[in-house]
């Protein structure tokens, strides 16, 4: 399932972290985390830090991808749907 979510190196994660792209997210912890990560890269905009922050944001989605609001937020970023039935089968 994790393979279905683009890697942290994907430029869409980085655009969000750098504040170059804005999405009207619904999932509360995504808003909290992304706001903090944007502050973090403002203070240290190095490539390493941007990549580290992208990994943190991606991992939040990996862990919450079954939650409807998080799924819709992922769709907003990447415009594709995820196979939840397959995710449940793998978890069992």
């Amino acid at each position: 399932m994790n393979d279905q979510i683009p890697p942290a190196t994907n430029e869409k994660w980085q655009a969000l972290i750098l504040g170059l792209d804005y999405k009207n997210f619904e999932f509360f912890p995504v808003k909290l985390l992304l706001a903090r990560l944007q502050l973090k890269v403002k203070q240290d905009p190095s490539e390493e830090n941007v990549l580290q922050c992208s990994k943190e944001l991606r991992q939040l989605f990996v862990k919450n991808q079954h939650i409807p609001k998080a799924k819709r937020d992922l769709d907003k970023i990447f415009k594709k749907k995820f196979n939840f039935k397959r995710f449940l089968r793998r978890r069992r």
């Binding site: 912890p29 808003k31 909290l32 992304l34 706001a35 903090r36 939040l60 409807p68 939840f84 978890r91």
Partner: protein
């Protein structure tokens, strides 16, 4: 979807002890003297004598507010965390976890959680909801906020108490907030460090003493600082202005680099609240809590807030510390559409 109605209500000590004896997992709020009389069992508790009950806001030392956790929550476990190991609170969450927490106000664990929760490992992987225990405002100089677990019944101002559990694969939990405050149209305010207490701030980029600034603009400190976190408004409540030291104290930390504005003024909390509360969530709420400052400033005693009940607290927790905010958690079944 199956409608989940929770037991969220004021109860006498006797009723609470009967529930404890039934073996249910409970989250309890009440005055210290009542909590000391609880039987041992599967509960966590924090001190507070203010509540939003079905009949409206009320202050009482004679009843406890009890939240009965639903039976479908699996693998329930009670743990305590001190100032050093609170950093593990998200790591200890279970798969498809749901976590309930109470932290005593003005304790070291409170300060550590408030400053650092957003950078704790696994932040946001599973929902963590709860509140900051407090005291009756008449007792604020004589006693401290405390928490306890039903494992020992010992009340202390030292540790956070947590129930970790796990939801079945067919259900999911979501935390959300109702914050009636929005950013006003005034100055942009930034701070130089992460702190509960500040001397200086950058006002539209220019360094000034913050206490002097608030005095100059004649700010009504019932209205919090508000930051825009990707469209969700996060408040920092003013605690006091220390004119001797020209410092400003807050109920939650401000964060370096974050842009804050003083809140837009509003007149009628209840009307605004009713307007903001997502009606579709009300029947699925497992737990909610609201802030003592909303209770006081909006004079909520005797007033109802649209089917929402729970303790009135010294701080709300929705993954991280929040202020002057109603926090709630819903548990829902996945729909067939969501399973596709």
């Amino acid at each position: 979807m199956t409608e989940i109605k929770m037991n969220n209500q004021l109860m006498t000590l006797e009723q609470t002890n009967l529930l404890i004896e039934s073996g249910k997992f409970l989250m309890i709020a009440g005055d210290e003297k009542l909590l000391l009389q609880l039987k041992k069992g599967n509960w966590i508790a924090g001190t507070i004598p203010y509540f939003m009950d079905v009949n409206g806001g009320v202050s009482t030392r004679d009843e406890c507010f009890v939240t009965v956790l639903p039976d479908f929550i699996l693998d329930l476990e009670i743990k305590t965390y001190d100032k050093d190991d609170i950093k593990n609170v998200f790591v200890d969450s279970k798969d498809n976890g749901i976590n309930f927490i109470i932290i005593p106000a003005m304790s070291e664990v409170h300060f550590n959680f408030a400053l650092n929760a957003p950078i704790f490992k696994n932040f946001g992987y599973n929902p963590l909801i709860g509140w900051i225990a407090g005291v009756h405002l008449d007792d604020i100089n004589n006693t401290t906020a405390k928490t306890a677990t039903g494992l020992t019944g010992e009340l202390k101002n030292e540790y956070a108490v947590v129930i970790h559990g796990s939801l079945p694969d067919t259900k999911y939990a979501e935390i959300d907030i109702v914050n009636i405050f929005t950013q006003g149209s005034g100055d942009e305010i930034q701070f130089l460090e992460d702190s509960f207490k500040v001397k200086d701030a950058l006002i539209n980029g220019k360094k000034q003493n913050f206490a002097e600034y608030l005095k100059k603009i004649n700010h009504d400190t019932r209205f919090p600082l508000v930051a825009d976190y990707m469209g969700v408004m996060i408040n920092i409540s003013y605690q006091s202005i220390d004119e001797d030291n020209m410092e400003v104290n807050f109920y939650a930390p401000v964060f370096k680099g974050q842009i804050y504005k003083n809140a837009e003024k509003l007149e009628d909390y209840v009307s605004k609240f009713e307007h903001e509360m997502p009606k579709e969530d009300i029947n699925y709420i497992t737990f909610s809590c609201n802030c003592i400052l909303n209770y006081l400033y909006s004079e909520l005693e005797g007033k109802k807030t649209e089917g929402i009940t729970g303790p009135i607290t010294f701080g709300e927790i929705g993954y991280q510390l929040l202020n002057q905010t109603l926090v709630y958690i819903t548990i829902k079944d996945y729909t067939d559409e969501e399973l596709k």
